[in-house]
Amino acid sequence: MQARELLSVLPADLIKSILARREKLAAQLPKELELRQEENDRAFQLAKASREELKALQAESSNSKVNEEDILKAQHTYDENEQFRRRSASRLQTIKNNISDCQEAISFWQQLADGEWGHLLEDAERVRVGGASSYSEAKRLNSEKEERA
C-alpha cells in the first residue's frame, strides 16, 4: 500500500475490516469443529481398539503360544493410533479455542466500533502531541538497562 492510502485509513474502517474477517472465520469454525470432532472420535476408537488388542496379546504371551513379532506389531499399531488420537485431540482443542477467541474478539471489536477505541490509540496520541514514540521509549529503556548491567 502507498503512504497516502495508509494515511487515509481510519480506526472505524479498520475495526470494520477486522470484524468482517472475524465474522467470516466464525462462520467457518462450526463446520471445522464438526470435522475435527468426527476425526477425534475416529482416532479415539482406533486407539482404543489397538490398545485392547495389544493387551490381549500380552495376556496370551504367558502361554508362549503367541509369537513375539505379533506383539511388537500390535505395539507399533497402538503407538501410531495413539499418536493420531493425541494430534486430533489437539486440533479439536485448537478449534474450540479459536471459536472462543473469535467470539471474544467479535464482541470486543463490536464494542470498539461504537467509538470506544481511545485506549488503543494512546501511543498515537502521545506522538501527535509531540511525545516520544513507543519505539523510542523501548530504545531508551534498553539503553538504561544496559547501563545498569
Binding site: I18, R21, L121, A132, Y135
Partner: protein
C-alpha cells in the same frame, strides 16, 4: 677572496657611498613592508584554516574575527555553519523522538495492515491480543508518518544548509590555498630583500672599514720568483705584512682609486729591525 668579494660588489663599486646608503635604506623599508604584509597574510591564513576546521566540525571553537575579516567569506561560512548545526539539531531531535526512519514506518504499517485484514483460516487464527497490538501500532505509525510529512522541510533544509556550507567551505579553502601561495611569494621576496640589504650593509661596512692601502693585485713577477724557489727579500716580506699582498715597493704609496673613508694607522712597523748578533768576546776576537 679578493676577486670573489669584488664580483659580489661589482655593481656597487661604481656608485657613490651615499647612493649605496640610500639603496640600503630603501631596501630596509621594502623588507619591513614585505614582512608586515607577510604577518597580515599569516593572520588571514590562520583564520581561514580555523574556519575550515570549524566548518567541518574538527573543532568546536569558532575563529575570532577582526574588523578586516568581517563581511568576508569566512564570516559567511561561520553563519552557514550555525545554520547547518541548527538544522542538524532539529533533525536529530526528530529522529530521537520517532526512532524509525520514514521508509521503515511505511513498510511496518503495510505489514500490520496486512496482518489485520488478510483472510484467516480456521487452523491459522490470530489472537485478540495480537490484533489489539497491531491496531495500536498501526495508528502510532500513522501518526509518525503524518509527522514526517509535516516535517518534510527538516530534511530538505538540512540538505540545503549542508550544500551551502560545503560550497562556502570550498571557496574558503580556495582562498586558503591562494593565501598560502601569496605567503610563499612574499617569503621569497622577503628573502631576496633581506639578502640584498645584507649585501648592501656588508659593502657599506667594508667601505667604512677599508684600509688606507687596499690589497694590491697579485704581482706576476714575484709569483714567478716564488715558483722558481727564490726567497723573498725582507722588504717584500714587510710589504706583504703591511698590505696583505705584494706590491711594487716604489708604487706602494700610490693613491687608491676608491674614495678614502677613514685613515687608519697601521700598528705594525714597516721596517724589520734586527740587532747585532750576540757572540762571545773570545769568538769575536
Amino acid at each position: 677572496m679578493s676577486s670573489k668579494s669584488s664580483s659580489l660588489f661589482a655593481d656597487l663599486q661604481q656608485k657613490e657611498t651615499s647612493e649605496v646608503e640610500a639603496m640600503y635604506e630603501t631596501s630596509l623599508a621594502q623588507l619591513s613592508a614585505t614582512e608586515s604584509q607577510l604577518l597580515e597574510l599569516y593572520k588571514k591564513k590562520k583564520i581561514h584554516s580555523e574556519t575550515i576546521k570549524f566548518a567541518v566540525s574538527k573543532t568546536l571553537q569558532a575563529p575570532k574575527l577582526d574588523q578586516e575579516t568581517q563581511g568576508d567569506l569566512v564570516e559567511l561560512a561561520i553563519e552557514q555553519k550555525a545554520d547547518f548545526d541548527a538544522c542538524l539539531a532539529r533533525r536529530d531531535a526528530l529522529v530521537e523522538r520517532l526512532v524509525l526512519p520514514r521508509h521503515r514506518v511505511l513498510h511496518t504499517m503495510g505489514d500490520f495492515y496486512e496482518k489485520l485484514t488478510a483472510p484467516l483460516t480456521p487452523s491459522d487464527s490470530t489472537s485478540l491480543a495480537n490484533e489489539m497490538e497491531y491496531f495500536s501500532r498501526f495508528f502510532e505509525l500513522q501518526a509518525i508518518l503524518e509527522i514526517y510529512t509535516e516535517e518534510k522541510d527538516v530534511q530538505s533544509s538540512l540538505h540545503r544548509a549542508r550544500t551551502n556550507l560545503l560550497e562556502t567551505v570550498k571557496a574558503v579553502n580556495k582562498n586558503d590555498r591562494r593565501l598560502a601561495q601569496l605567503i610563499n611569494q612574499h617569503r621569497s621576496g622577503a628573502k631576496a630583500q633581506r639578502m640584498e640589504a645584507g649585501r648592501l650593509k656588508a659593502y657599506l661596512e667594508k667601505v667604512n672599514a677599508a684600509p688606507v692601502n687596499p690589497v694590491p693585485e697579485p704581482n706576476p713577477e714575484v709569483n714567478e720568483r716564488l715558483l722558481a724557489g727564490e726567497a723573498l727579500t725582507m722588504e717584500e716580506f714587510a710589504s706583504m705584512l703591511e698590505h696583505g699582498g705584494l706590491t711594487e715597493l716604489e708604487t706602494s704609496n700610490a693613491p687608491s682609486s676608491k674614495p678614502k673613508q677613514r685613515q687608519k694607522k697601521s700598528m705594525r712597523t714597516s721596517q724589520p729591525r734586527r740587532g747585532q748578533r750576540q757572540t762571545s768576546p773570545r769568538k769575536r776576537d
